[in-house]
Symmetry: none
Subunit: 415 residues, 2 copies
């Protein structure tokens, strides 16, 4: 089956709202095993909407529209859709009663134009709206189907799940299972990663493999189409194993976990506590740690020592370390990590010092130069990087790299 | 002029990402006075992308694509676009040098596939990418134009503003000036704000008024169409003045500045320094302060005292304050603010303690309860809130509220 999506509404063409409906429906169709090759957005214009519908019906089995089911004169989706199939609208008494009941319940007077919402194409299947007034519609004509869903995301999602999915499942006897697994990678670029698994990407069919760069991570999404969950699981497992032999060290989590969550889990497993001292990341690492519910079990303290004075006074970084080697240096990172470990009395101390820019660079120390220190109970390691990007990007990369180094050190792997 | 937008990328068809690029470009085209009747999304598939481009060129003057300029084999937008105009790609030496320089600067090895990014359609205008490696492209053929922009929103926005808008303005002699001003508000809900300026929203025409809720802020975007900048400026100024008489105290910035930047500017003006002590926000306030270049001039130190021990040891919060009134209490917030002020030797101390959830609530202290302390040289104020939402949302609201309270205290307004 091939579906196509038409989002209607001039507010989308004017950029006044983001089209989250397109994402929601697309993701759900992929999971149902229904292909989607085009999404189109069109305004509340009869001629252009008709054109979009005809084009979509020419290349897809199922055309799903969102929006334009409201009471105003600009809401024309049902009218145009029924016209494409040569039908007219007629009053649907049951829907009218439902709409009247909703207004009565809210203690509001129902205006004349709300009756428009109860007008339904001849011979259509009505999809009830449990979260609003406008009913949805399914029209079948030969082997083509049009489904009209409402525009407000909350109403649309409810109707999609409660009525459209059951309809599609029954109609097409969808019994295959679509199952996904996301391998979250950090520490190598998209093109390097692609180089490592080029052959797998080329020969992919089922499971499929998709690479997605997101906030300096790369997510590898594996999707299997199978007869049941166990089969899908085994297909995904085999492919994951092959990928792990190539780039296993960069995979920090499967599916949802963040770097901070994974590092936190390792700390809990090893009964370790951590504290961090941040300069250029300025609190981002602490914020990532504490974004995880229950992080108070292992995250004891964070300090943001933005000035030299704070580094010296609070973390006991030696004055001559800063004066001779600078605040951004291997030795300062080392003393910060050891200093915060001792200040907070934790098992592990994590530190970051660097130049996030745009100012602060010298010839020897460019923007993006970052030192990260990991003070473990038995030894301290310091790592040097030169990150690219703007200030925010450098800070984000540095914070995530620190968490990844903590993870690797806890795994006993170093870098 | 009529434009059409084609978003490329299988990740969009699979619903893995929301298409924010479509909204951004659509909004900007509306401001430029360029019509947009269709947005299409298509995957990384040669045949279907070609079809989408041909269809778009059949009904629009300008076709703008986003995505598919990367180094991988799936990145085919330039290739397909040039094919539609019967052209081939050729190596653009200048772009290659730029890409090589980026890799050299990062100390990374450039892989073979990155050369793809420097391949440019014959006779095309190259749009430089100041925020990434992939250059963009403009191709003119008769009275039709194709513009290829990158997919990552940060890169796309930079290239659109720096290169595409100047190109379009020059090409079409857009001589009316579209000029916008964004009033950034914090501390009141969207519906309350709407209520305050309902009449202005209803009677708007030029300038237009749009409300946009973003990360717990509300941005009021005023857009004027005028003959020149001076005229636009005066139109926007008059409207801003009217809005300020209604909700002036909630407007913390005009256009780009963040709450942290505004608070930082006030600290600089008043020659004050600040330090912060965070519990439930866990470093977010420090991260917001230090996201501003040059913040080291006033942001001296941050501490994340997630445990009671850290609050007592580092900030000198009294043990009996915590044992009697609890770590989430007015008195603890007060002592944390005063404690960090004294620890760091700053003029101002800022503190947050609260329950971000999902755990940690009691009958008397619900999830969302947050105390914020502001220790000024002459007195300390503590503010109590109960924020709604999930953990991330409560933390974000608490952090921004702390910065807003600092701003209000520096302005001498309190809350």
């Amino acid at each position: 089956m091939i579906a196509e999506l038409i989002s209607t509404g001039s507010e989308l063409l004017l950029g006044q709202v983001v089209n989250t409906n397109a994402q929601y429906i697309s993701a759900r169709l992929a999971e149902l095993g229904i292909h989607l090759f085009f999404q189109t957005t069109v305004g509340d214009n009869r001629v252009r909407m008709e054109k979009a519908l005809s084009t979509a019906l020419g290349r897809a089995d199922i055309v799903i529209t969102t929006g334009g089911l409201g009471p105003t004169l600009g809401d024309i989706t049902k009218e145009v859709s029924s016209g494409v199939f040569g039908r007219t609208l007629e009053l649907h008494e049951e829907s009218l009663k439902r709409i009247q009941a909703v207004f009565a319940y809210r203690g509001l007077k129902m205006t004349e134009n709300n009756i428009r919402q109860a007008m339904i194409p001849q011979g259509a299947i009505v999809l009830p709206n449990n979260r609003g007034t406008a009913p949805g519609v399914v029209m079948e004509e030969g082997n083509k189907i049009i489904i009209n869903l409402p525009g407000p995301p909350y109403e649309m999602q409810g109707m999609f799940e409660d009525a459209a999915v059951p309809y599609l499942t029954a109609k097409y006897g969808l019994k295959q299972v679509i199952y996904s697994r996301v391998l979250r990678c950090f520490g190598l670029g998209e093109s390097s990663l692609e180089e490592e698994i080029k052959d797998l990407l080329k020969q992919q069919s089922n499971p499929t493999i998709a690479l997605l760069a997101r906030e300096r991570e790369i997510h590898i999404r594996l999707t299997a189409l199978a007869d049941d969950v166990a089969q899908a699981d085994s297909m995904l497992g085999s492919l994951e194993e092959v990928i792990r032999t190539r780039i296993g060290q960069y995979i920090f989590a499967v599916n949802e976990d963040t770097l901070a969550k994974v590092a936190g889990n390792l700390l809990v497993e090893r009964k370790c506590t951590v504290a961090c001292a941040e300069s250029c990341t300025g609190g981002m690492i602490a914020a990532m740690f504490t974004d995880v519910p229950g992080s108070s079990a292992y995250f004891v303290q964070g300090v943001v020592t933005y000035t030299n004075e704070a580094k010296i006074k609070l973390l006991k970084v030696k004055e001559h370390t800063i004066s001779r080697q600078g605040a951004v240096s291997e030795q300062t990172a080392r003393e910060m990590a050891e200093g915060v470990r001792s200040l907070a009395g934790t098992d592990v101390g994590l530190s970051v010092t660097g130049i996030a820019g745009p100012g602060g660079a010298t010839e020897a120390k460019p923007v993006g130069l970052v030192y990260i220190g990991v003070a473990m109970p038995d030894s301290t390691s310091v790592y040097k990087y030169v990150f690219s990007g703007d200030r925010s990007s450098i800070r984000l990369y540095a914070a995530k790299t620190a968490l990844d180094l903590l993870r690797r050190n806890l795994l006993g792997a170093g870098t």
